[in-house]
Every structure is written in structure tokens, then in C-alpha cells.
Amino acid sequence: MPRFTDKDSPELIERLRDASRARQAFTEVIAAYTEPLYWQIRRMVANHDDANDILQEVFIKAWTSLENFRGDAKLSTWLYKIAINESLTFLARERRRNNVSIDDEAAMLINAIEADTNIDGDALALELRKAIATLPEKQRIVFNMRYYDELKYEEISEILGTSVGALKSSYHLAVKKIEEYFSRLD
């Protein structure tokens, strides 16, 4: 699984701003960011088909609002923000559709994880996914970014607009809860 790294160059940004070359440049963006964005979304929504739909929405939204990308933030940060917002919107919609409160979201996600057919049979990894699903939304996002994507706290802070101290606290709380989850299994 590739790490979510910064793939935008000043030259690419410049081409994105040029209407005549934007389409070709954005095709390169899609090629570069499809995989890392997909995994970020998939970890949040659990299901491949949902992740696929959301990823398409993310790229369409980014493409149609390209003029809003000012270039003072990194392209990767901007795309990450869109992906997280779209995923959270999807989860909120699912909660409403299933009449589930945010406190009961874990059960909904665990059901989705158990119903997921695109898995490699790694039981321990599956259990970790379930453990992560039990975390509060913010801790879940922070844990995924820090643990799987190996983003620096400063990068996460830029994406989520939260202080580094609060992110560290969220991450350590998440790790502690995951430990407790596994200790209950023993």
C-alpha cells in the first residue's frame, strides 16, 4: 500500500491553472493520487464499492473546483481534505439512511467490514480494522493518517486544521483503545 506522499510539482500546478493544459495535467493527478486516496477512503468506509464511488466523487469535485485551488496549500493536502470530507458526508448519509446515531456508528462499520469480500484473509489485520472502527471519528481519522499513511503530525494538522498537540493526544488515545480492544479479545 503506497504511502500518501506529495506528488505535485510547481510545473504540474502551473499546468493545472492553464485551461488549455489543465485536462492533461489533471489526468496525471488522477494517475498519481488514485491509489493513496482510495486506501484512505476505503479505511474510512470499509467497503470497496463505496470507496470506488466516493473516489470518483472526489476527483470530479476536485476537477470542477480546480479554480478554488489557490496553490498556497499542497495539492495532496487539498485532495486529502476533499476525500475526508466526502467520506464523512457518506458516513453521515449512511447513518441517516440506517437510522443510526453517531455513537452506534462502530456497529455499522463493523458490519460493513465483516461483509467486505475484498480481503486477503489476514485475521489479525481484519481484527485491527474492527478495533479502529470502534474509535471515535476524529481518532479514527488521525490513527489512519498517522499509522497507515505515516503522515507527520504537521501534515495532518494542515489537513484537519487541528493543533499538533491535540493530534498527538488523539493518536495516543486511539492506540490505547486499540490495545484495550485486543486485550479484551485475549
Binding site: 500500500m1 485551461a19 489543465a22 485536462r23 489533471f26 489526468t27 488522477i30 494517475a31 488514485t34 491509489e35 482510495y38 486506501w39 476505503r42 479505511r43 470497496h48 470506488n52 473516489l55 470518483q56 476527483f59 470530479i60 476537477w63 470542477t64 480546480l66 467486505d116 475484498n118 480481503i119 486477503d120 484473509g121 489476514d122 489479525l124 489485520a125 481484519l126 485491527l128 480494522r129 498517522r146 499509522y147 497507515y148 505515516e150 493518536y171 495516543h172 492506540v175 486499540i178 490495545e179 485486543f182
Partner: protein, 145 residues
């Protein structure tokens, strides 16, 4: 602070999730083809029509006409100062005076007030006739008793 524990070390970065064969390649190709056309926003303004060009002047003229009409109306409502000495301002009187019978019956331009009182006195005494003052005195005396 230690960020990971034994379990996390054991699992590593494995997520256990997979994607269908060739998913990413197909997605990139499909997504690139499906990007919608972005229509640039129309920045050039449409030329102004004749009406749009003259509209402010028409509105201004209508406003002045309205003000003029309003002032005219107020003037009409308040009306000119009435001349109370002009008989033509009293149409009822004019109609009455143009009727000869009315004038004969009610208008006495040369009447002598002394003569008028004399006439009234004589007419009243004629209608009363002779008065018996003795009978009148007795009646008054009896009433007083």
C-alpha cells in the same frame, strides 16, 4: 510516549484489504475519460438593448411627471380662493332670482317698513272686529276673585 504496541508491531501496516484485479489501472483510464467539460464562465457582458440604455431616463421623466401631477392635484383639491360676494358662487340663489314668481313673492326692493307695519296693524284690527270692553273687565274681575 510509546506510540505502538506489540499487536501493532505484529500487524505492521497490513490492512487485510484488497481490490479487484486491475482496479487502479482501469479506474485511472475510466476517470480520465469521464471528466466533465468545464465551461468557462461567461465574463463578457451581453450588449445593452435600446430599452436598457434609455430606461433610466424614462424612469426619471416618469418621476418628474408624477411629481407634477401630484402638485396639480393638490392645487385642484385646495382650489382657488372663494369670492363670497360673487352671486355666481351661489347657484341656488341664482336659480331662485331667475324665477319671476319667487321674486314677486319674496323680494320687496322698495318696501317702506313704516307702511308695512301700518298695513299689518290695520289687517289685524279688521280681523278682530269691535271689542266689548265692559264684558272683558267683568271677566277679569271674576277671574281675580
Amino acid at each position: 510516549m510509546k506510540e505502538t504496541n506489540d499487536i501493532l508491531d505484529k500487524i505492521g501496516r497490513r490492512s487485510g484489504m484488497t481490490v479487484p484485479e486491475g482496479f487502479f489501472d482501469n479506474f485511472v483510464a475510466k476517470m480520465s475519460d469521464e471528466l466533465p467539460e468545464i465551461v468557462p464562465e461567461e465574463t463578457e457582458q451581453a450588449p445593452m438593448t435600446m430599452w436598457q440604455r434609455f430606461r433610466p431616463y424614462v424612469y426619471m421623466a416618469a418621476m418628474f411627471a408624477g411629481i407634477w401631477c401630484m402638485m396639480k392635484m393638490f392645487g385642484m383639491l385646495s382650489g382657488p380662493a372663494t369670492d363670497f360676494t360673487d352671486i355666481n358662487n351661489y347657484p341656488g340663489v341664482v336659480t331662485a332670482l331667475s324665477d319671476n314668481a319667487f321674486v314677486d313673492d319674496y323680494i320687496y326692493p322698495d318696501v317702506d317698513e313704516y307702511q308695512l307695519i301700518e298695513d299689518i296693524y290695520h289687517q289685524s284690527t279688521d280681523s278682530i272686529g269691535e271689542i266689548d270692553f265692559n264684558v272683558l273687565t267683568d271677566e277679569i274681575f271674576n277671574d281675580s276673585i
